[in-house]
């Protein structure tokens, strides 16, 4: 008996919520980016689990899950690069990576 689909979805939900907590609650800007990467990973697990367990009726969509996940990985890499470049630029001009200290535009 294979692992039921629900368990994979539960694992992905757990990872996503941990990532969400990290992205909302951490002080260090890099910590926020770490949370975002965790969320993207969780989404990928969901996509691949659905690809494995549910076959679409249209045969030309047979690999859509894997290709979608591949695109998400590419996007995550691109976003991590730009995010970290921004963090480094902020550090250079303000000498801090605490998001609580970068609050000039807050009212």
């Amino acid at each position: 008996m294979m692992i039921p689909l629900n368990f994979y979805l539960l694992l992905a939900a757990g990872l996503f919520c941990l990532g969400l907590f990290g992205a909302l609650a951490r002080r260090n800007a890099i910590g926020i980016l770490i949370g975002i990467e965790l969320m993207l990973n969780a989404v990928n697990i969901n996509l691949i689990a659905f690809w494995r367990y549910i076959q679409p009726a249209d045969p030309s969509m047979a690999l859509a899950g894997q290709i979608f996940a591949l695109f998400v990985i590419t996007l995550a890499a691109a976003e991590a690069a730009i995010g970290l470049a921004l963090v480094i630029a902020i550090y250079r001009s303000r000498d801090t990576v605490n998001v609580e200290d970068v609050n000039l535009m807050k009212w």
Partner: protein, 166 residues
């Protein structure tokens, strides 16, 4: 159940635990370097989950890109911003209780949906030659997203260099 099915089940629990424990360390560690290392452990766990799901190509791509490139980027950024010399203080900002509450509510919601729905599972027979098919589909059915992604990566390359330049 047969021996290899049993081993696959055991493997799922092991790599799932690795992914979750790594994520926990990544989100709660005060030292940002430990958080980055926990993230790397979580990435390897997720790659293991892909192998258990019989998507080996994606598992190897996950190791190559996430652990080989993104993790190195994060470690470089940690080092360049000297986040460790800042030292003490809590890891969380002032709104952590609201964040924990929202994360918990979302987890309960997603859990109810995941465990309660009756998915019409049609397990597929994973053939042996997925990779030539992926290549063909990338070049025919999914050509537009593929080209859009290459343009995106070019923009990211130029943008990251411009932003992080002295």
């Amino acid at each position: 159940m047969t021996a290899d099915l049993f081993l696959i089940n055991v493997a799922f629990y092991v790599v799932g635990a690795i992914a979750l424990v790594g994520a926990l360390i990544a989100v709660t560690a005060q030292n940002i370097l430990r958080a980055a290392l926990g993230l790397i452990v979580s990435f390897i766990g997720v790659a293991g989950v892909y192998f258990v799901l019989e998507a080996e190509f994606l598992g190897v791509v996950q190791i190559l890109i996430y652990v080989g490139a993104i993790a190195v980027l994060i470690l470089f950024a940690v080092m360049l911003t000297r986040g460790l010399m800042r030292g003490t203080g809590s890891a969380y900002n002032t709104q952590w209780m609201g964040a924990a509450f929202i994360a918990l509510i979302l987890f309960l919601l997603l859990g109810v949906v995941a465990l309660g729905t009756r998915w019409n599972v049609v397990p597929r027979q994973v053939g042996d030659d997925v990779i030539p098919q992926i290549g063909t589909e990338l070049m025919t059915t999914y050509l537009l997203p593929f080209e859009a992604r290459s343009l995106l990566l070019l923009a990211v390359l130029v943008g990251a260099i411009v932003i992080a330049r002295e």
